[in-house]
Subunit: 221 residues, 2 copies
Amino acid sequence: MPKIKILIADDHAVVRDGTRQILAQEPDMDVVGEAADGADAIRLAGIVKPDVAIIDIAMPGVDGIEATKQIKAKYPAIAVLILSAYDDDQFVFSLLEAGAAGYLLKSVRGRELVDAVRQVYGGESVLHPSIARKVLNRFVPAPGKSSVKKPTDMLSEREIEVLKLATRGLSNQDIADELCLSLRTVQAHLGHIFNKLQVSSRTEAVVRALKEGWVTLEDIP
Amino acid sequence: MPKIKILIADDHAVVRDGTRQILAQEPDMDVVGEAADGADAIRLAGIVKPDVAIIDIAMPGVDGIEATKQIKAKYPAIAVLILSAYDDDQFVFSLLEAGAAGYLLKSVRGRELVDAVRQVYGGESVLHPSIARKVLNRFVPAPGKSSVKKPTDMLSEREIEVLKLATRGLSNQDIADELCLSLRTVQAHLGHIFNKLQVSSRTEAVVRALKEGWVTLEDIP
DNA sequence: GCTACATTAAGCAGATATACCTAAAATCAG
DNA sequence: CTGATTTTAGGTATATCTGCTTAATGTAGC
């Protein structure tokens, strides 16, 4: 069975050593490279072809975010596991957008790190609990509000249908054809939608629908 | 020290028993209620006031998704931890939107479940690795494509400005005023945008801009 | 039964947007 | 310098959308 090849990128030598120490005790893991900065990490990634790259955010020169982007761009097969001291939102989302498969804080114990490496090697993703919380918060539209705005509280079923089609770029006539309605009916529905949403154009309504999550960008071809 | 009060909701009694068994071994946890369906879970949540509700998706009558929504709506302080056999996208995102703080698959071992309960009790979030992967995939805009389409490859700076304002729901005249341009110029820019993007309406262009990430929903007031 | 709302549809006026055309000044690469 | 692109803008015409109003039907709640 081939071992999991691992690249460690961290500007502190002692952290690299410690990490290597932990991983070395696993029979199925092999640290094939160490980098002290982002540029080195990118270069080494191309040479040693690791399966998993464990990358720190704070590194001199090219930082972990940029390194992750470039590694994922050039070698998409490499799974990037972020191991950082920071859980600032800015870093978190930049990293996830850059294509990181995992994000752990340095408070993890060795066992968890080892597990995480196996997870990302297997194509899964790992998020540290406090990171997961941040990510999940992106899914709750109105956290403070006691009543979560649901489209059904504002719009009727039919209106939502119309709005969905509008969001896909259809004209009123197209929507009418699609739903087997009169053009005037579609216009009426949209008029009601505008009033209920307190907007004055189809574009505003569409953006609203997306922003509130009534329609997902994934739904749109 | 007060124990963590836990409510278990699952339609299979044996699963409830097993879960209770695992949690009972923890000195700081107390199973204060069991529900066999969603309606019961919602009702009990109001009576026993648990700190954490462990909820299964597949339940007769009111399912786990609806139960989660209602529990979070009525008692936001209760942390909902989903423990399910399914990892279908549909369920996952519905649950997360409903306000679940954690999502584990039934393949977890007892230790992990116990840890997860403590995490969500502490206000953190826990995602099973395969769930985390799905969630993270929402953050990578163009997964397959090697070259991420940048707006600058397609659209000029000015065109992007116009498109951004259009995305915020402004009319052509509004955009013209905002950028101190003639209405005709804005029309011209939009015409060029439509041609370049191969679309035929402002709405399509706007959705495209959002889908490609040229404009973020967060940018929009 | 009455009230409220959803769904359907229409008339009419006016606002907006889009298509297709030309064109001048500015900028930039070859 | 020359050609391409960008940015600006206008002409003309049509298409589409939006506002305001009315109204018939059906359904749900009091």
